[in-house]
């Protein structure tokens, strides 16, 4: 009986210390370990400037969708002048703020599950630094069974780049298959 009480007490102590650590810890392994909220997707964008600047033209992709080296290659003055065929130049202060936010929250620095999967897959793939999220092995593999007619041939989607067209909770960093609704194909199931 005594032994069981000790076990329950130890369990409670762990939960309490974990909860208190949650309140004070910086983001990192320990915070991830003690967090009870779901971290299955990627970390949602919390930086207002990043959100506003990116969303001006396209869906604000979470930094956790690419590793830091990719953001380094994408978010510099030269690269932004020809950002996937478009001049997306930013002033120096804005560029620095966005660059730093993206690099600090990149896939290889995040404890969110999908970010970890992306980081692990990129780390073990040979070749140049990936610049497109859709070309990542993890992302392309996840979408390979979806017919072309549902993406490129679908007026409601057009391209795999428009994550939020099908992933109804993409803005929250949730990319679960249960939250997918392909426009014009409401009955689609994986």
């Amino acid at each position: 009986m005594m032994q069981r009480k000790l076990k329950v007490a130890a369990l409670l102590a762990v939960i309490l210390s974990a909860s208190s650590a949650y309140a004070v810890a910086e983001d990192g392994f320990w915070l991830w370990l003690v967090k009870f909220n779901r971290q299955k997707g990627v970390r949602p964008v919390t930086d207002k400037q990043y959100l506003e600047e990116c969303e001006g033209c396209h869906f604000a992709y979470q930094p956790g969708l690419l590793p830091a080296k990719s953001w380094e290659a994408l978010l510099n003055a030269d690269a932004l002048r020809k950002h996937f065929g478009v001049d997306a130049e930013l002033d120096n202060d804005t560029l620095k703020a966005i660059h730093d936010y993206a690099v600090d929250n990149a896939a290889d620095k995040s404890w969110y599950k999908r970010s970890r999967k992306i980081a692990v897959a990129v780390a073990t793939t040979e070749g140049p630094v990936p610049l497109r999220i859709t070309e990542l092995r993890y992302i392309s593999r996840k979408h390979r069974n979806i017919p072309e007619k549902m993406i490129k041939g679908n007026k409601g989607v057009k391209s795999l780049s428009f994550c939020d067209k099908c992933h109804t909770q993409a803005a929250d960093g949730v990319y679960d298959v249960d939250t997918v609704s392909i426009p014009n194909y409401p009955d689609w199931k994986e």
Binding site: Q3, K113, V120, K155, T168, D176, Y185
Partner: protein, 226 residues
Amino acid sequence: MGETKINLRNIVVGICLAILSGMVYAADTGMNLELPTASSFYTRNYQSLNSRSFDSQSFYSTAYLLAANEGDVVRELSVVTPVVPESEFKPPLISGRKVHQYLGLGTVMMAGLTMLAAPESCERNCPPPSQQPRQTSGTTHTRLARATAAMAAATVLSGLVFHWSDIHWEDPFTDPDKLHARLGAAGALLMIYAVNKSAHSTEPTSHAPIAELGVVTMLVAIKLTW
């Protein structure tokens, strides 16, 4: 005269009923939100003709035939996809993946209850194990332990079925889904082994540490993909 009065009353009642039913029908029609109200719908929805899975909406297709008969519109029919009226998407309450999730969490909770329902062990002046009474057959602890083991097995099985596409041979050892699968299966096996060990012994035998290790292993597995 009396007959006439009755007939008149019947006629009046009949007319009232007819009017009422007509009003109900009119009200229903007015509130039927599925009917498009803008004329532009009929001309813009010409893509629906190209859809094979759009049979239930054939009304709209017919409407298009009446409304959009321009040559360039007709030529576009072979290249565009259907446009289905959008409705607010609600994730399913239950799915294969969610069943797996609930089973995993249920296993851990059941394991906790099993631990709390464990019979008291002898602490002082204890007789040798062979002479101690067998307390585990038919007790709450036994039933809970068996249910936990069954749930653990069901969790692993549902994971294999519903998450098979998440596991790839080319992914490294550290892939979160691979770690989750390995640790989850190991945890379930440890729990099943602990139950089996106790069930097949003729005297009280220490199996709690194995079961507890199994629970901790499964908890780590859950956390890795939570």
